[in-house]
């Protein structure tokens, strides 16, 4: 009998399956269509201090084995989240990972304080460092080790919750960034964010997205994500929430083999909002085939 429960940076979760930020809204929308049984936690869409309207449309485009998006962090802002959504979420009883995004390290610190003071189901903070650092000419925080570490420190110093920094794999050396984040006190890593991509209508010549380019997600990016998880797990030993193109339970086990303690399901939710339930049903059988009794047996078990 397979036991799906895990311990993720000290948090007890009943399943290794986590919904990825941006693909589960504020968590309340999916709850009305599928229950959250079989799920470890839901990562909410990134919150900013002020509400953000997001980018111009079109914001999504399907590609082979994936999709491009440029939502632009549209969200209601942290205050509206705490007053309008969190009470409903607390009633659902599902553990929440709250993703935060800022334009300065100070904004991340403020967000961490606001989130940490909230009552209820929040079990961790995910730090979205794929945002432009306005104090450094708009370069993405996650593009270099020092800024990634600084933002992580700002969050860690302002919360008692476990902190997972979500890294982009579209960098020169993700391991150096992972090490900087580890040194800054992160409890774990979340890997990977979308990869930059672009599509053009060949006939009209217009870009498919209103913002010209966007982030690629879905099964097409899975090998990139598996390598990032393996590299960062091996270098830092930190617990990893791994994902990028997870489509079925075999993918979940593949990410565990690479070093993921928990595995996030993202774009696949768009094909079927209840995909995670199907994966949760398939997972015990796949684990049985590996001989593993619990997810922890598989973490980092790639034979190299």
């Amino acid at each position: 009998m397979v036991d799906l429960s895990i311990k993720l940076a000290g948090i007890d979760l009943k399943s290794p399956l986590v919904l990825a930020s941006g693909t589960a809204g504020y968590g309340v929308e999916l709850a009305s269509i599928c229950g959250y049984s079989g799920l470890g936690a839901v990562t909410l869409k990134s919150l900013t201090i002020m509400p953000r309207p997001g980018n111009r449309s079109p914001r999504v485009w399907e590609t082979t084995g994936g999709m491009l998006n440029s939502i632009g962090l549209e969200n209601a802002g942290v205050d509206a989240f705490l007053s309008d959504f969190l009470p409903q979420l607390n009633e659902l009883g599902v553990p929440l990972i709250v993703s935060i995004a800022g334009e300065t390290a100070g904004e991340y610190a403020l967000l961490a304080r606001r989130i940490s003071g909230a009552p209820g189901s929040i079990v961790a903070i995910e730090v979205n460092v794929s945002c432009p650092n306005v104090e450094k000419g708009g370069l993405m925080f996650g593009a270099e080790p020092q800024a990634s570490g600084a933002v992580t420190s700002a969050v860690v110093e302002n919360t008692g919750l476990p902190v997972f920094t979500k890294l982009s794999a579209s960098v020169f050396d993700i391991v150096r960034i992972a090490e900087a984040v580890a040194a800054a006190g992160a409890s774990g890593l979340s890997l990977i964010n979308t990869l930059p991509g672009m599509a053009i209508n060949p006939v009209t010549g217009y870009p498919r997205l209103g913002t010209v380019s966007g982030g690629l997600s879905g099964p097409a990016i899975k090998p990139v994500a598996v390598k990032a998880v393996w590299d960062c797990y091996r270098a830092t030993g930190l617990p990893v929430i791994g994902g990028g193109g997870v489509y079925n339970a075999l993918d979940v086990v593949e990410f565990m083999r690479a070093g993921a303690t928990a595995v996030s399901i993202g774009t696949a939710t768009f094909q079927n909002p209840c995909r995670f339930e199907q994966i949760a049903c398939e997972l015990p059988d796949i684990m049985n085939r590996t001989g593993a009794l619990r997810p922890a047996d598989l973490v980092g078990s790639v034979k190299v």
């Binding site: 941006g22 693909t23 589960a24 809204g25 929308e29 999916l30 009305s32 269509i33 869409k45 309207p53 997001g54 449309s57 079109p58 914001r59 999504v60 485009w61 399907e62 082979t64 084995g65 994936g66 999709m67 998006n69 939502i71 549209e74 217009y206 879905g218 099964p219 193109g245 489509y247 774009t267 696949a268 939710t269 768009f270 094909q271 079927n272 909002p273 209840c274």
Partner: protein
Amino acid sequence: MNGAVKLSGRCGRCRISRSDKVAGSIHLVELEIRDCPVDLERPRPGQFFQVKCADGPEHILRRPLSVHGITQWDEPGHSLELLVEDVGWGTHRLCSLSVGSEVELLGPLGRGFEMPRAGKALLVAGGMGIAPLFFMAREMDHVDAGYDLVAGFKSGDCAYAPLACLKGGGVLCTEDGSAGEKGTAVGKAAGYMERSVYSMIYVCGPEAMMAEMSRLAEKADIPCQVSLVSRMACGIGVCRGCARPGRNGDNLCVCREGPVFDSTRVEWICVQ
């Protein structure tokens, strides 16, 4: 059309019972609900289904398709009609599926048209905008509501509007005059508005056409409901992929708050 929408969509597999090319690249696909394991709610005009055009990880996103009609919904063997234009990978595959093939649906989703409470309505369709408005006309026939339907197309080879089976008045027009009367949907609708009194206008079609119809309706002080088109991923309001600006500085989440909106809420996007 205010307030939160309770999400009612459910997944179910249905069997294609008919698939006919009805004009140019437009196919009428009929789905049999009889063997669908989940009871699908009765769709309302303007609502849509997220249709999975293929299984597997190669094509992740569903295609949002407006309901074109329903038959014998409360009896065994009821079916759902979708009007599908073959414009890309997903719709092409859907149009290519043979009778007997299974398709997975999620829905019905979104907010549909509100029925007029009194008076006569004007329904204005441009191109594939006929899909929800033809359904609307048939639903209005059921309750003996009065309406005129204007169905405009570029040309006769892409024109599909079987007006003869409707009780209301109506006209099919094409820009080049190759079928029906010559003229645009907006031009014909303006003519109808001069000759008759309408209590409500319903519009679905290309952005520029809907923008122009909204201006006419607002100028004549007639409430106008428009059904918007937007590229979307989830169809249930979680990804915000379909959101577009509203006139009051807000965002309109097309899949969940729409696709039907009061025209005064919509900020029209300049069409290139």
